[in-house]
């Protein structure tokens, strides 16, 4: 496979991921993750330990499963108003490609419409992917927000 074909396959996968987040299909998003996957959004880009320092998010598969079931729940006051997102992804780079494992980074901008307000999130995403049967799965995703250390209002969905 040529490098450009490979890059194209990865781009398609990340765009599919963004599609599922943007449409609020968290169950579909979770299908893109491995059984042992984790999602990390630290409060500082220098953070190296998710367990002994606070993060905005650090979720293992169990918490992801809970989040899928909680997202949009009819009993959750925070989900009476819808969450709509629009991701743009760019500067996708393959950092390491040792089949079946890949390390990929990308930049993203995400515009979020929630509670009568349009907000902008931007940052770096770092993916550990697993290639299986011509397709990819997310083993780890780390999102470093440009303003990770800012005073955030509620962030109702994965970015």
């Amino acid at each position: 496979m040529s490098l450009s074909t490979r890059r194209e396959a990865i781009r398609a996968f990340l765009e599919e991921e963004a599609d599922r987040l943007d449409s609020g299909d968290l169950a579909g998003w979770l299908e893109l993750c491995t059984e042992g996957s984790s999602y990390w959004m630290p409060v500082s880009s220098e953070q190296t330990d998710p367990h002994h320092e606070i993060s905005l998010l650090y979720e293992n598969r169990t918490l992801m499963e809970l989040r899928v079931r909680n997202f949009g729940h009819r009993l959750a006051p925070s989900f009476e108003t819808p969450v709509r997102c629009s991701h743009l992804i760019g500067r996708i780079r393959i950092r390491d490609d040792t089949p079946p494992e890949l390390e990929v980074t990308a930049r993203f901008h995400c515009v979020m419409w929630y509670r009568n307000e349009q907000r902008i999130f931007a940052g770096d995403s770092r993916y550990d992917l697993l290639e299986k049967g011509g397709s990819f799965r997310i083993r780890r995703k780390r999102v470093d927000l440009l303003n990770a250390d800012a005073s955030h209002k509620s962030i109702p969905i994965y970015l």
């Binding site: 002994h52 606070i54 499963e65 909680n70 959750a76 005073s151 209002k153 962030i155």
Partner: protein, 440 residues
Amino acid sequence: MDRRKLNDLVREDRVHRRVYTDPEIFDLEMARLWSRAWIYVGHESQVPEVGCYYTTTVGTRPVVMVRDETDRVRVLHNRCAHKGARIVTRPSGRSSVLRCPYHGWSYHLDGSLAVAPHPTGFEGTGFDRCDPAFHLKPLARSASYGGFVFAQIEDSGVDLETFLGDTRRTLDNVLDRAPEGRVTVVGPGLPYLHECNWKMFVENLNDAVHPMVAHASVGDACRRYMADLSPPEPPPEAQIIDPFGSSYEFFDKMGVTALPCGHSYMGATSSIHTGYSDIPGYHEALVARHGEQKTRAVLSQNRHNTIVYPSFTIKDAIQALRVVRPISVRETLIDTYHLRLEGAPEALLRRTITYSRLINSPASMVGPDDWECYTRMQEALSHDGGDWVYLGRHLHQEHDTNDGLRAPGTSDLSARNQFKAWLEYLTGPETEMTGEARCR
């Protein structure tokens, strides 16, 4: 605003919506309550060495906490005595002097003026480098209890220990839970910007009739997930999330205790944190310090949210503390900090961090549901359409104990007690009541 008008806003079982929405009242709160109460600044471990500083706010005023050359922790207004520029803008750091970037006035770590450049221009002007008017102004008083630093903008005449009263037992318990007898703040705080009046957050801390409603979804999600597992074995995270769906009866049994100065706590020997599993090695480490009997006593104290009104709340069994920082009548920053129990297994810190991420983070599945409810109150109370907020649950059913006024956990006692103190602060000092009396 005169006393009579303020008195009209607080009744025995209800408060007027203006207490949450009127900017004039917010200004009065800053001038009278947040200037006269002891306000939490930070923990001494955040400035571990000489020259270390940490910036924050007391009320709405920017301050810097700094460890001076004599190892004393000082709390100074973060403003140059020359033209008023903010001196320190980094959240924390270390420096041998505090220097203003505008005209180069530089201050020693105790706030005294070290250098004002080109001194010939001051000759014969009355300028005196030793005059405290040209120093970084200290807050009227600052003091530490077990490393927790509080400060007062005005000296109310009450010392910190008297002000803390029985909430000291919560702080003592936190320290007793550390095998080395001390705690350390770990990492940066976790700020969460709320679009509501600060009092809504503080009242909610000991409001036990909201969890089973506002947090019903996450409990349901947790149960549905467990049902999907085969075999249905509860994941460790369920230990933290599940109790949020506890029954009214469970919370009633926990009880709420109201203390002078607007302080309060829920629980005593049981709380939503009682059922946590033991961490290997921890019990043994505590026994080595306290002996078996005292260790049992230390671990059996379980106060859910101890509120040191108006600025500070801590969970003794969780080692996470939250700090209230009002910004405006409708904006409040809540900062969460995490404590390492020195000498305890790292697994305890890991549990503290996990708890906080699951409950206090702006991206969690719990905090945003509280946030939503506060915001709705703030939005709706800003308009006419019913002036009163009701706080009457279990009114007149408190009983006086040696440890404070106690009531069933779902009582509104804690909120009523906060407004009692609120009114005393706001209507003072014209009242006969001195600061000392206020805290008795």
